[in-house]
């Protein structure tokens, strides 16, 4: 078994949390070259009414409560906000984002400002599920991963595969909305703290 395979099997932790020396570098080396726009989407069904879910999401300052990579979101005005995401080594990636279209209780579409390090846009849709199962929430995100050093940081940030992160963030959103908390197997607060870093 070669090194890469051993690494895969050793650890199921999020990539930035891997403890094995060069694991992150090895995983992201292949991603330095620009690849053009990346589009992905993820969906979750949440046992809550549309209006409640929309209201929580629309208050962007609350998003870091379930989006692991976000450090904070500052609200600039009704349409614009400033996003700060965590990067390895205590660094951050920041950008401004603007709502380009929205329909209350139905969808929000956004796009980043022109000078963003990581140009991105997307939409979040809220639709009624069948048979009183609540709401179908779909996130669709388009982003342009840059090359070079920043590209490497971004690749680490999004754990190679942004769809994985989006899927997990949506699950945490579901947990928070349905149960009031986010499930964790940490045995105590010290462990939970460690996992969040």
């Amino acid at each position: 078994m070669d090194d890469a395979q051993t690494r895969e099997l050793r650890d199921d932790a999020p990539l930035p949390a891997w403890k094995h020396g060069d694991a992150v570098d090895a995983a992201t080396d292949a991603l330095i070259e620009p690849r053009g726009d990346q589009l992905f989407s993820s969906t979750v069904t949440i046992n809550k009414p549309r209006s409640e879910l929309f209201a929580y999401w629309r208050d962007f300052a609350k998003l870091p409560s379930f989006m692991d990579n976000l450090e904070r979101v500052d609200i600039i005005d009704e349409k614009r906000s400033h996003w700060v995401a965590k990067a390895p080594g205590g660094a951050t990636v920041e950008w401004d984002s603007e709502i380009v279209e929205e329909q209350p209780d139905t969808y929000i579409a956004w796009a980043s400002a022109e000078d963003a390090d990581v140009p991105n846009s997307g939409r979040i849709d809220f639709r009624d599920a069948q048979a009183d199962r609540g709401t179908i929430v779909t996130a669709t995100i388009l982003y342009d991963p840059p090359g070079g050093v920043i590209g490497k940081v971004v690749a680490k940030l999004f754990q190679r595969e942004p769809a994985i992160q989006a899927r997990r963030d949506l699950r945490r959103f579901k947990q928070l909305m349905e149960t009031g908390e986010i499930a964790t197997s940490s045995r105590n607060q010290a462990q939970a703290q460690q996992e969040r870093q």
Partner: protein, 207 residues
């Protein structure tokens, strides 16, 4: 605290590990008074279950006394409880139908990928049974953190010995589990498994 930890095939050790405490508001901390070794623990001991990690605390059949309850737990300090194997949220679509083993939210978000890949959907968390089922610390220990403690634990009245109710944690209800799985709700309930399960069903008038 002292706890039984897994280190590999045929290698389990009683070690001193960090005590649990309240992490989420619906948690409770249980001081274990009785715990059992399940036939399924042998699969871990024999190394047949993937996604075990060194240091994982085993045990999914246990009961004890509540020593601490989070602000949103319905348990009270001093109560005796039997803790079921499954960790379920009580709020999702499936929990609403009492299909607790199919709970959408029992697993941490990062652990759900494995179950989703294998089974097509997430499932409930389980105590002390690999990271595929959440990586939760189990009950062969002095203390256990019980998540969603307002849903699973069964309060036991004083005066009933541990031995009479301990099996409510896994082996006894397991016999009624299969017909409740979401994929088999229309199938004929079937009996399967080991003699202990047969005995439970044979002598329990509810099954």
């Amino acid at each position: 605290m002292r706890a039984l930890t897994w280190h590999g095939k045929h290698d389990v050790r009683v070690e001193t590990v960090d005590d649990p405490d309240i992490v989420n508001s619906r948690d409770a901390i249980i001081k274990v008074t009785s715990t059992a070794i399940c036939g399924s623990d042998l699969h871990l001991y024999d190394g047949y279950i993937p996604t075990m990690m060194k240091g994982d605390i085993l045990g999914h059949e246990f009961m004890g006394e509540v020593v601490e309850a989070g602000p949103k737990s319905t348990l009270q300090k001093g109560q005796r409880v039997v803790v079921p194997f499954t960790i379920a949220c009580g709020a999702c679509f499936h929990c609403g139908k009492h299909q607790y083993s199919a709970c959408d939210n029992g697993l941490p978000a990062d652990n759900q990928d494995i179950a989703q890949t294998l089974y097509g959907q997430p499932m409930s968390g389980l105590f002390g049974y690999s990271h595929m089922t959440g990586g939760y610390s189990g009950g062969q220990a002095e203390y256990v953190r019980v998540p969603f403690s307002d849903v699973g634990p069964i309060v036991v009245p004083d005066g009933i010995e541990d031995d009479k109710v301990l099996f409510l944690s896994d082996i006894l209800p397991q016999d009624g589990w299969r017909p409740k799985m979401r994929t088999s709700s229309r199938e004929t309930p079937s009996r399967y498994g080991a003699a202990a399960r047969w005995a439970c069903s044979r002598f329990n008038p509810h099954f």
